[in-house]
Amino acid sequence: MSEEMMEEGGGGVIKKFCYINRKAPYGTIYALESLEVVLIGAAFEQDVSVVFADDGIYQLTKGQDTAGIEMKNFSPTYRALEMYDVEKLYVEKESLEERGMTADDLIVPVEVLSSAQLQDLMEDQDVVLSF
């Protein structure tokens, strides 16, 4: 495992990284494994944005209780993102509305963007990772 040596492999480059989450938690593992990338990626000190759209906004729902399905509730980890200096969290307004939700229903403070604003944000990125 030479990972430690490579962790700082960026060599001073700072890119705009965008993680796009469009899937619900628990039904599939993509949400959890996406979060693991964001946490590891934080060590590289890039310019990170995390976008939640479509069913991805369900990752941030308050009051998750996974005891009955014997899975780990990983939603509190989103609250820890700030400590990793991952502070730019965006949620699509249209996705919220289709689901009858508002930003108050979410476990972390987010910036709500329209589809048009989100288009601009994504167009400005250097690397887009979709989950």
Binding site: M1, S2, E3, M6, E7, G9, G10, V13, K15, F17, I29, Y30, E33, E36, V37, I40, G41, A43, F44, Q46, V127, V128, L129, S130
Partner: protein, 130 residues
């Protein structure tokens, strides 16, 4: 141009592994550099040497191993995703007390940092998944 490839699904079940392979081959044929191919989520299942597909089907795992040998490709299997799904090299197996390993030739197991690093180093990162 320097490309990174992310493969997020296992062999046979989703076409993602096929598309990633054919894209990689086409990129190499056009003279591009493939900096790294990173296998994440079920994509780690591309790295098992225990598959025996029917004779009249493509051998997805061997195809990766052969392409890696020919072009000195860096095929990286995510360690965390591999542990969940049962992909291990001899070292991993030993560390986790397993009595066997299954990593195919040409693949190596490493951390998620290798994916982020590929995003930084490559001019383009292309994802194949579901």
């Amino acid at each position: 141009m320097k490309f990174g490839i992310l493969v997020s699904e296992g062999p046979y079940t989703h076409q993602a592994a096929d598309s990633a392979y054919l894209f990689t081959k086409a990129a190499l044929e056009k003279g591009h550099e493939i900096y790294r191919i990173f296998f994440y989520h079920d994509g780690v299942n591309n790295g098992t040497r225990l598959t025996t597909p029917p004779q009249d089907e493509r051998h997805i795992v061997n195809r990766w191993s052969e392409l890696a040998e020919k072009h000195k490709l860096d095929l990286v299997v995510c360690v965390a995703a591999a542990q969940r799904r049962g992909i291990a090299d001899a070292e991993e197996a030993k560390r986790n007390g397993k009595d066997g390993d299954n990593l195919a030739p040409g693949f190596r197991i490493s951390g998620l940092g290798q994916l982020v690093e590929a995003g930084i180093q490559c001019e383009r990162l292309v994802t194949f998944g579901d």
